[in-house]
Point group: C2
Chain length 205, copies 2
Amino acid sequence: MEKSIPDIVVGRLPRYLRSLEYMLKNGIKTTSSQELGESIGISAAQIRKDLSQFGEFGKQGTGYSVRYLVDQLQSILHVNQSWDLVLVGVGDLGTALATYQGFVNRGFHIVLAFDNDPAKTGKKIGDVTIHGMDQMEAKIAESGAKIAMLSVPAAAAQEVAENLIKSGIRAILNYAPMQLILPRDIHVEYLDPITKLQHMTYYLG
Amino acid sequence: MEKSIPDIVVGRLPRYLRSLEYMLKNGIKTTSSQELGESIGISAAQIRKDLSQFGEFGKQGTGYSVRYLVDQLQSILHVNQSWDLVLVGVGDLGTALATYQGFVNRGFHIVLAFDNDPAKTGKKIGDVTIHGMDQMEAKIAESGAKIAMLSVPAAAAQEVAENLIKSGIRAILNYAPMQLILPRDIHVEYLDPITKLQHMTYYLG
DNA sequence: TCATCTTCTTAAACCATCGTTACAAGCGAG
DNA sequence: CTCGCTTGTAACGATGGTTTAAGAAGATGA
């Protein structure tokens, strides 16, 4: 069994990848941990240690091949493939998410959308039709999607999340201002702006 | 000089506050670190230790007065007042942010909006008029706002952020998929969904 | 070609931070 | 007064990050 990688390390990999992809696009062939670190504000030693958890990707004296490292990171993060997303809650925010091109560009495709407002069901948002919540379990199971974006009101978030898991969802991007209590093996990331704002106001005295 | 509080502790306070406000709204007068912890998935000891950094708010044998603790946390986080927000970048996402009622309910008011698209300037979004980027420095300085929400394309984010700081902004909620390199005393929180999604796909092998 | 110098990685050792466990002391009910 | 409950904090252990030492590849110059 492979020794497990700390979650905090995994969380930094997308940031490395983003910067490396930018270099690749600009024709930079080679980089060093120092250069990469300066471009994203992380110490060179930190980057080297993180990468060394997954293998040896660099050459002493030379540094890293940008293209090779991009390939490796994409492979590690499993983003060298397309991922299907489910959107739950098509309010203002959900609508913005559905039309955001950034997802598609990175290989994330919204394949299903749900809302409990009868006035919305049947309409199309982006490329997909909005279904009622009652169809959620069947539709998701059929699609095989593993990732959901949750943009429902806080009061509904916990219940909806539990239903998502029953339907086969294993990772949730939670926009609702609500902490979810879910099984350990479900991965949740939080994107609630209020929590972040309140964190910042502490320092603004 | 007061000993400085770890940032990671500060980051948990809004979560405690959220749950406590929920209890308050539901008429719960008293709670314990254990009960609070179970409601948000954090250990009781962690909560007690965090709170103890700021003072002694509980009674042995009884627990915490919900109302009192809410007051204290609001005061610590400086959210017992109204905050002005500046919105930069009025695309799909920016539009959703401008009309999101959650901000107003928590005392965060968007007072200025900027976009570099001439077709948008002069129009109103929510309660505010959209201005051109060229007016940013003057308008922000005049308003005295300290917090900005950044929803511009990645390529523009760094430059816009630097201009925001020149205008007096001290905290940035960054929706752009871009790491910002800024002075230490500027507080930045990241809300880029792609980074979060790529973090999750690691575990979905 | 070969020795030497520089650069940058890898890995180990060290140090700081964070979280959990354990416990003494205080409050309230009976 | 006694018992059960809950806090606040000290001590411990785990995790995370930085520093340092060692080694390998390429560049330079004779």
